[in-house]
Symmetry: C2
Subunit: 238 residues, 2 copies
Amino acid sequence: MPDTVPSQASGLFERMRSAILTLELAPGERLTERGLEAAFAGSRTPVRAALMRLENEGLVLREGHAGRGWVVAPIDVAEIRSLAELREAVESMAVRLAVERAVDADLDAVAELLTAGGPAADEDEGLRAGSDFHVELATLSGNPLLADAVRGAMTRLARTRWLEVRTAASRAQARDEHQAIVDALRARDADRAAALVAAHIRDTNERLVHFLTAERRRLRGHGLSIVDGAPARPTRAN
Amino acid sequence: MPDTVPSQASGLFERMRSAILTLELAPGERLTERGLEAAFAGSRTPVRAALMRLENEGLVLREGHAGRGWVVAPIDVAEIRSLAELREAVESMAVRLAVERAVDADLDAVAELLTAGGPAADEDEGLRAGSDFHVELATLSGNPLLADAVRGAMTRLARTRWLEVRTAASRAQARDEHQAIVDALRARDADRAAALVAAHIRDTNERLVHFLTAERRRLRGHGLSIVDGAPARPTRAN
DNA sequence: TACACCAATTTGGTATCCCAAATCGAACCG
DNA sequence: CGGTTCGATTTGGGATACCAAATTGGTGTA
């Protein structure tokens, strides 16, 4: 297996992506290809490639009438709500399939994620693990498309991790809910597992949305663009 | 509204995409950037951009250990099965949300798709309409992410339309099932609508998969690469 | 005959260069 | 002064030239 050469452009992509996810590049910030070319080392071609990849991860957007200019995707409360609905659909299905397809060893591996680091895990670790847990869970479905969908959703949600304050209690609750999901899987109880997953996603999301709408003003003051893009009415796009 | 200039590259993308979807570029066929540069008019930069976009629509893949070379995505029976599961999850959810959010006028508009062209619609039209119906249905959820997911799935499935033989009877059945879904929506019966959607997707998919596995040998003879990528076991990717 | 080795070619990756459109200013006119 | 026009600058889109890696063919040797 001739390990893939980092290829330099992948590096650029990773660094830009990382800069966005850590809010080093603020949501709503305008980007120019030439500016990025300078900020990160590397010339325009790989920068453009990276931008395109970031675009379809939903982390950057084209702006302006004539497609001129790029923007770091604002944190969009409407999008976050939509993501939760998508996750509920996809992860519920994934967990149902996992009940049928995953063997106990797989479940053990995922369960291990929950205890890894123990209660000593710091906030950052805890949240990353939370994200990973959902992706690993979806992977157990044996359906790579479901796993990818969850991975994509978690990526789009990742930036909020730096905003929302998570208490030790809320972390513990998340861990308990994750544990309950694994237990349901072990019991091969698809309905219960799916219901727990849906409830967990809904609760987590509700907390997040409440937080963002409440703190929107303050966060904006810190230079972050937080918008609420859409009505809950069918959008007749295109 | 300064209408967007076709921008040439979009044109290239559309033409390449169309060539793939119509099987003019055969599944499994190897592509080189320079070859495409010649085949379609336009130089490497836009060709490259188009390839990247096609890549994340899942229509082309990078091949080879060192990322060298592109391939028109083979028709992968395992992927098709996975797509059906994804669609079942997403479209069921979408239809549930549509029951809550869509107004009657929206439903009327979608219902109109079913009768448009009437029974005289030829095979091609009928199938395109079938695909559009599912996308429009998902749009009624008011959740653009769900609609996008369905659109993406239908794109990946689009190539099979040229392979599978659809009789007048099967087209009529599909239309009836679509009609039944709309009726359930009109009745604001979320459970029934979701169940009908799930059953419809499952049935349609089962027929398709049966057809492909049965005809795989013959279709391969025509130069098409049809594979069955995956086991139904959780894939421990990465 | 099989195999190892080398050179030409091909390929994707990268770095620039040029271009037309759009934006932003400043000078100019009313 | 306010509004407009014209031009310099900036920006993304496209075209090419160059590079290193890798494939490919052939050739000469054991």
